[in-house]
Symmetry: C2
Subunit: 80 residues, 2 copies
């Protein structure tokens, strides 16, 4: 089974990297940009067919290693 994890900064956390991308795009003449936020993305393939168990494991991985819960939110999705 394959899952994706999308990690984003919480709403009130500053995102200087996103700001730089936004400024660069504006300099490249893209108008009407309101906001850009950058995040992280993981695709995880697991040898295990028990979806509930896998989801629990991946949630644990996020909490233990991948996500900084103080400043980040995360979402787990099944891809296949």
């Amino acid at each position: 089974m394959k899952f994706s994890i999308t990690i984003t900064l919480k709403k009130d956390v500053l995102d200087p990297q996103g700001k730089v991308v936004q400024n660069t795009l504006q300099n490249l003449n893209f108008k009407n940009l309101k906001n850009i936020r950058q995040g992280k993305y993981f695709e995880i393939e697991v040898n295990n067919d028990d979806q509930k168990d896998v989801e629990k494991k991946i949630d644990e991985m996020c909490k233990k290693l991948l996500v900084n819960l103080i400043i980040e939110d995360y979402k787990i999705n099944k891809i296949s």
Copy 2:
């Protein structure tokens, strides 16, 4: 309108960063991991209600700045 861009390394491109995450998770005692790939993620908010036009613009942003087309694939999704 709000869109997400997910950027992943092409299948045959090595992903040393993902490998490190995979090894670390295995050391944390997560078994059954088959593969982990790391990617990038952007959320873009635009002041423009013409969805077709926005999608075209975002595709252009990807090609001009955000994505290295030689080694990366990308997907654009409407969030809201």
